[in-house]
């Protein structure tokens, strides 16, 4: 009896709350507007391509650009992003204590973080996983050919376990050598003490492109040992804020799909080629109200940082020192995994 009553009450409460849900502002967004800045996670140093500091002592990188995109969406000005330097260990407590509003910091979506740490994740905006790099003169192209070889990894990382599991699955005998520091590991590999080097894929590509005198002497093996979805993390319990983050990422992807760039966004908005673009850029009103924002938020955001492809190329791809291929991180229509929900 009481159970029925409770569910009835809940249903009534839902019905009453529902019409307001779209317009109601999340506590987080309200706090951001009151404060006038969005607090994002930085790093206590640099993380290649994702979070870096440029020669003018300013933050840059893929994650930083996403933060600036989000700031533009909420506050209309990318410069109102406030980047709080955080170490890896510090990021989750800092989010919970309110030192930052959101973590966009090459952070993988795992079950433990989703449940035990009380976080909520956005759509993945990047896919990276453990891969192997080997000396090219060994003539190896895939992990099965590493039989009897030596693989170096950084001690105490998830990579160590992933490599062990993977090599066991494909039944390849090997010797694993762990190093405490990334720099030692790099030096050991370059000094030919290991045949292969296991690390996060983008990190290997960056290393191969920048720190090695002749990149052609090293190959990244085709095996994808793992694939980790990288997503923005937020505090549990503010669905409207998660919605906003998801649609921020979605808008960047949809913009790329339709060829809307930093340069042509105003032109396209004045003359939208199809209804989806018209809705996205606010030429047909509606996109703002549903999220409690201005109708032009996506347009302003693209004008400020560009679409997802532009952000990628600026920080990791062809316009960066890393020249990282899009690969999995391309739109689904170009053979990648990035996928935006429907904008109806």
């Amino acid at each position: 009896m009481t159970k029925t009553l409770k569910s009835l009450l809940a249903a009534v409460a839902c019905a009453v709350a529902l019409p307001n849900a779209a317009a109601a502002e999340s506590a987080t967004i309200q706090a951001i507007k009151d404060r006038g800045t969005l607090l994002c996670s930085g790093h206590n140093g640099s993380y290649f391509g994702f979070v870096e500091v440029n020669d003018k002592n300013e933050w840059k990188g893929l994650d930083i650009d996403l933060c600036r995109a989000m700031t533009t969406a909420i506050l209309g000005d990318p410069n109102k992003a406030q980047i709080v330097p955080l170490s890896w260990a510090q990021r989750f407590p800092a989010l919970q204590s309110g030192d930052v509003d959101i973590i966009i910091k090459a952070t993988g979506w795992t079950m433990g973080r989703d449940t035990e740490l009380g976080l909520q994740f956005s759509l993945p905006y990047f896919f990276g996983g453990a891969q192997l790099m080997a000396h090219a003169d060994l003539g190896v192209t895939q992990a099965t050919e590493l039989e009897g070889g030596t693989v170096c990894v950084e001690a105490g990382t998830t990579i160590e376990r992933i490599v062990a599991d993977y090599m066991k699955t494909i039944d390849v005998e090997h010797t694993m050598v762990s190093y405490e520091k990334a720099a030692e590991l790099r030096a050991a590999y370059l000094a030919n003490r290991c045949d292969a080097f296991a690390a996060w894929g983008p990190f290997l590509a960056v290393l191969r492109a920048t720190e090695i005198d002749n990149p052609d002497k090293h190959v990244i093996l085709s095996d994808q040992l793992s694939s980790e979805p990288i997503a923005a993390a937020m505090r549990q319990g503010d669905e409207d804020f998660v919605d906003l983050t998801n649609w921020m990422i979605a808008a960047l992807l949809i913009a790329e799909e339709h060829g809307i760039t930093m340069a042509n966004v105003d032109e396209v908005a004045a003359n939208p080629p199809n209804p989806t673009v018209a809705r996205l850029l606010g030429s047909t009103p509606g996109i703002g109200e549903r999220l409690g924002l201005r109708d032009t938020w996506a347009r302003e955001m693209i004008a400020a940082v560009g679409n997802f492809g532009e952000i990628y190329h600026r920080n990791l791809g062809e316009n960066s020192p890393y020249k990282l291929e899009r690969g999995l991180n391309n739109l689904w229509s170009h053979g990648g995994l990035l996928y935006a929900p429907m904008l109806d």
Binding site: F48, E52, V53, D55, N57, S87, G98, T210, D213, P321
Partner: protein, 360 residues
């Protein structure tokens, strides 16, 4: 007798004779000297070749930098301001520079015996910290506000070191005196604090101050993260330093204090005029040691997201264009540390000479 025809004693002076006596007194000695000398020369020339002869000096010649070649000092030209100033806004670097100079000057002045007064020293440091805050934080005289999150590089390292020592030293004297007190409660509490804090790692203490405090303390009482971290660091420093000072106090023969008591001197007079001057003198080497350790330990604050000079050095090489130049950056940062620590050691040696003169 043939006494008059005895040969004069062999001349055993001059560099050649010294070398024969000290470096080549036997075959083995000579071999060791030659081998070791060759090794030292080799290391010296390798280092010289890397750092000077084969080095690339300017940013325009960046293309000449090759892995395995000489040092590529272009990285310092391109990223030096990042290393020295961290995330401090680019156009405001003069403020950070001045603020750093203010603190260094204050440190320098407080090393001069003329400023060692119960009134002068606190006033000096008040002025020093005041000037630093004014310049770094701004908000007055048309200076834009720069929040502590953006502070970084050398001025942050120097600020943390100076404030930890300035807050920690008086605290350590109080703790040391309390631990020797006749009153059991005070003695117990001081002993408890020292033993508990010393058995925790510095990293844990700083992490708790920066990350845990916001969960357990209400908003209005939290204060700035940097202030919390400095206070926690100062307490940690004080607990170690208190034991050093206590050792100095114990080295004083008890007869001195008894004599002072017999003369009717009050507690604080005895402490200030009799005990502390002697305790400081005998604990000086260990104190300088503690200062040096503290200066180097400031780099731990990077783990709670502060851009002190080591972290900004890491940020400087964490970009595709300069990823290969980490040795150059470490050498640069190391040289800065060396200047400060070596200065401290020399100052310690000066104080010891001075104390000996006073005793003689």
């Amino acid at each position: 007798m043939a006494e008059a025809s005895l040969a004069p004693p062999a001349v055993d002076r001059g560099p050649l004779a010294w070398a024969r006596r000290r470096l080549f007194s036997s075959w083995l000695d000579g071999l060791v000297t030659l081998g070791f000398g060759a090794f030292v020369l080799w290391v010296f020339f390798e280092a010289l070749d890397w750092a000077v002869l084969g080095a690339v000096w300017s940013l325009e010649d960046k293309e000449l930098c090759a892995p395995g070649g000489g040092a590529c000092w272009s990285v310092i030209e391109a990223r030096g301001r990042l290393i020295l100033f961290g995330l401090y806004p680019f156009e405001q670097h003069w403020r950070s520079t001045l603020a750093c100079l203010v603190i260094v000057l204050t440190m320098g002045l407080s090393c001069v015996p003329r400023f060692w007064g119960v009134r002068r020293l606190p006033l000096l440091w008040l002025a020093g910290f005041g000037g630093f805050m004014l310049l770094m934080y701004g908000g007055v005289f048309g200076l834009s506000v720069v929040t502590t999150e953006q502070w970084g590089g050398l001025s942050l390292t120097v600020l943390i070191f100076a404030s930890v020592v300035v807050i920690g030293m008086p605290l350590s004297v109080l703790l040391a005196l309390a631990r020797r007190s006749d009153m059991p409660v005070i003695r117990g509490v001081a002993g408890g604090i020292i033993d508990v804090v010393r058995s925790l790692p510095l990293l844990t203490i700083l992490f708790a101050a920066a990350v845990v405090v916001p969960f357990v303390v209400p908003d209005w009482a939290q204060g700035d993260k940097l202030v919390r971290v400095i206070l926690a660091f100062a307490v940690f420093f004080a607990c170690y330093q208190a034991e050093i000072i206590r050792a100095g106090l114990q080295a004083i023969p008890p007869g001195q204090e008894e004599a002072a008591m017999a003369l009717g001197m009050k507690y604080w007079r005895r402490v200030i005029d009799i005990l502390l001057p002697q305790a400081f003198r005998s604990s000086l080497p260990a104190t300088i040691n503690q200062f040096v350790i503290t200066f180097k330990e400031t780099s731990i604050v990077t783990i709670i997201g502060f851009f002190e000079i080591m972290a900004s050095g890491n940020a400087a090489v964490g970009t595709g264009d300069w990823a290969g130049q980490f040795i150059e950056v470490y050498v640069f940062v190391g040289a800065i540390y060396f200047c400060f620590v070596f200065g401290l050691s020399r100052y310690g040696a000066y104080l010891e000479r001075r104390a000996r003169l006073g005793q003689a």
